[in-house]
Structure formats: C-alpha cells, structure tokens
Subunit: 152 residues, 2 copies
Amino acid sequence: MEIKLRPIGVVHSPFKTNEDIETERFADPQGFDSVEGDLEIFEEYEAGLKDTEGFSHLIIIFAFHESEGYRLHTKPFLDDQLRGLFSTRSPNRPNPIGLTVVKVVERKGNRLRVKGIDMIEGTPILEIKPYTPRDQKPSIKFGWLEDKMKKK
Amino acid sequence: MEIKLRPIGVVHSPFKTNEDIETERFADPQGFDSVEGDLEIFEEYEAGLKDTEGFSHLIIIFAFHESEGYRLHTKPFLDDQLRGLFSTRSPNRPNPIGLTVVKVVERKGNRLRVKGIDMIEGTPILEIKPYTPRDQKPSIKFGWLEDKMKKK
C-alpha cells in the first residue's frame, strides 16, 4: 500500500539551508517562535483558506524534502544518547513528513504570513489544519527532552 | 512532484465504521479523550518506539483511507455554514491525511495502548512524533469553531 501526496504550496523562509536551522536551534530552541515567513498556497487551493484567519494557530504538515534515509535509533540535536526515532522530531524518518504549529499574522489571498517557521525556503507544504482545543494538552511529560530542557 | 508514503502500522479501534465516529462526535465532541485503542507498529519499525513511553502524549499522523475527493468549501459537522476546507478537520482533503494527539497508556513491544482514538479500525498509521512544549499553545483563537462550542 502506498499513499501519494502532492504539495499544496511552498514555504518562504528566512532559513535557506538546513545549517541555518541548526544554528538557530543551538542559539535558542524556542527562538523559532519569532521567526516570520510566508506560506504560499497554490492558487487552485486558495478557496480552502477561507476562515483560516479566524484561528490564531495552524498546524502545517510538510515534506522533509532533503531527508535521506533514516535510522531507528538516532541522536537528537539536544542530546548525547541514541533515542528511538519516534521519540524525536528528526527529519530522517520512514515517512519524511514534518509538523509545525505556526501563529497566523495575516492572510493576503493565497499567502499566509505566519510566525514560528522552522522550515527552509522551498519546503513543500502538504497540509494545513486548524489548531483546536483538542490539540491543547496543558499538562504533559516529555521524556528525555524534559531532562535536556531543565539542564539548559 | 509526488511524495510517496507507506504505512508504518495500523490502528485498532472500537470504532468500526465512519458512522460510529460520527455518532460519538454528536454525543460528545470531547468524548474521544476517553476512547482507548491500540497502535500496532509493524515489527520492522518497533525499535523506533524506544523512549516514546517517556512522553505522555504522541502525535499520530494517519491516512484517511476511506476519503473520496474533496470540496474547498465544506460544511463541518458542528456547523451549518460552508467553511474553507483548511479551517476544518474534514477527512476529505487534497492530501487525505489526519492528525490526532493521543495519550500514552502503555507500550508492549510494537503495540502502544493509547487514549484519545478518533480513527476507525484498520486506519493506516503514517507517522508518530512526540508531543513537545513547542506544540503547546495555551492561548488560542479558534474561529468559527469557537462560536459553535460556546453555544453547546
């Protein structure tokens, strides 16, 4: 069984390469919240953006289009130990798709100006969903990452 | 450009048909939080589940495998007006992929017992990611859905 997806748009980002992203991550893992960029949705899908501006946050699913292969145990950027791949947000995955929750700044036609971009210029956008109360989990445990963030 | 994905596992759910899901939704939109099910990850990917049990919540990306076609303006189940598709969580989308945040109950080998299932039996799982502090947005606006939830 194979599921075929086609991009519905493309990310315009101040980050031009994966190295730009890594630099930001090391400087401030929370720093992406202030990074602005544009989501250009192809015109054939523009009508579907109606009402998105009523939501403060959107979930963007995108392709890690520069991903190559994967390992089931991997060392996350914040850690020095091998972790199970599905407990990390590594771009190198069996299905190389990523997910970021962005804040809507404004919509102009088929372009959404958003904050919270951690994708590189040219990233193919696969899906946009509204972030709703069911996506809010106020009280969470976050495993190995918890220790790492406390130590910072 | 086409992105090809392969299922990494399959959902085992008390919901056997889409009608079962709709019945639950009408009875209590928040009711899914207590619905338990299993995520069976294919054995070849089991090693990647290491460390997931340290996280209270996981993001599951799955295929809406019974989805057929889509309309860019659609009437959500809670609403009586046409809304832009990307402001809804309708299963009928250009790229028919869904997303649910589930709560981890326990892991036994390649099976994760979780709460918060709103998929039907046999749903193909495409991706598992840890739910991290960056996915928490405590203060949100949620557009047309906000009015509908207040009225209930």
